[in-house]
Amino acid sequence: MRIGYYPGCSLKSSAREYEESVRALCAALDLELVEIPDWNCCGASSAHVMSADLALGLRTRNLAQAEAAGLDEVLTPCAACFSHLAEARMELADNPNKRQEVADFIGLPYSGRVRVLNVLAVLDRYRDRIAAKVKNPFRYKVACYYGCLLVRPPEVVQFDRPENPQSMDRLLEAVGAKPIPWACKTECCGASFSVTRTDVVANLSGRIVADAVKRNAAAIVVACPMCQSNLDLRRPEINQQLEQEHGIPVLYITQALGLALGIDPQQLGLQRHLVPVELPEPEPEVVTADDDDDDD
């Protein structure tokens, strides 16, 4: 199988380990990634404040480039990029006049054919294959942290449940993990305020880290580079806010699944985290009636 791939800016720099683990995992699943030729920044949290048309143009140019490359679907691992591209697609879907106007702005034809998919939606298709390839069951209690833009607003993302999503839980269960019930699955981490309002990030991300720790999770698992960087890079500020030293690691879903599939931790970029990825002893294997035979 091949699928279009929009990495976005962070996956080429501050979230390099996300790209490394996406590529390693997709290779293990025989899913070929075709990077959109000459892709540009989606405008992130800034373009739409200055100009709605600029934001729409930046987003649509990527979709138009994907169309020109003959792609039907684009995997967008960054939750913010995913939300922005999906929103552009939705905005232009029922508006041929606007579609033409934007096509003129970007100097490329755009029909709206390409679908935008987040990393969980793509991996969900491969859940059986992932389960079949497990080498080192990931037997840990995990806090599945979806954040905002993977699941909200529902009409843009067309994915999972907005308040209590399940897709990441299912994927991690498939490799032996035990997702905990917790209060912060879809709370906001402080998003793009990391540089300008670090105090807000420390406060909001602090609640998330504290709840995961309180419920004995061994790791927080994420599918968004903004969430990961707020929970990982801003850990000193978070710990200061909480007046505690929390060392719970923050893994990308692709890293957690990659470890379970036996992919080399270095290849998954685990060494790039600021909070060291140290996992406790795995939980004891639960033997159920169903897998009695396998577990002689």
């Binding site: 373009a47 200055m50 790039r272």
Partner: protein, 193 residues
């Protein structure tokens, strides 16, 4: 009310501009307060989201100004919790975006939004030049604009150690297309959100 006065008010109020630019009809809000109840930063806002919407509903120049000068519009994280839970499907984050743009344009933005404005300018400057974000360049631009020269220096060097900062920009090939897009859309008077 006098019909012509009412019409004049409707074409210039923020509520009417918001409806024209985004299609969002603020009079649909019936003040249930669900947006502010779920907002992760409501406790730090000088005007919680439901009050922003309420003030805009009056379509009065005085209240419009109060909203544009509030700090609340700069604290919205666009987490979309309010929008997702709104029984009337009002896209409040889009409204906030529009208000931020207007506050900047009319030079009414809250003094504590200076850093956030500088961040947006530095970010777009970087994307306009290279087509993609060049983090070091963007952060230098931000530091120069804000004077926060030393903030996060230690973090920056740690990121560099971990191979997470590119020393040089990775520009796209068709920079001319991006330049054209920036020029056309930033000069477009209809382009406000």
């Amino acid at each position: 009310m006098n019909r012509s006065l009412e019409n004049a008010k409707k074409t210039t109020s923020l509520a009417s501009q918001i409806q024209a630019a985004t299609g969002i009809a603020l009079h649909h809000c019936y003040q249930c307060g669900k947006c502010a109840a779920g907002c992760p930063v409501a406790d730090t806002m000088d005007l919680p989201s439901c009050q922003v919407l309420r003030l805009l509903q009056y379509e009065s120049p005085e209240f419009d100004r109060q909203v544009l000068q509030s700090e609340a519009i700069w604290l919205c994280l666009s987490c979309e919790t309010c929008h997702t839970r709104c029984p009337q499907d009002i896209g409040t984050p889009k409204v906030m975006n529009f208000l931020r743009g207007e506050a900047m344009r009319l030079r009414l933005a809250h003094p504590r939004s200076k850093d956030t404005q500088a961040f947006h300018h530095a970010f777009l400057g970087s994307v306009g030049r290279h087509g993609r974000l060049y983090e070091i360049g963007m952060l230098m631009g931000y530091k120069l604009r804000t004077g926060h020269l030393l903030k996060d220096m230690a973090l920056g060097s740690k990121l560099h150690e971990k191979g997470k900062l590119n020393l040089l920009p990775h520009a796209i090939e068709d920079k001319a297309a991006l330049k054209r897009l920036f020029k056309q859309t930033l000069n477009n008077p209809d382009s406000k959100e």
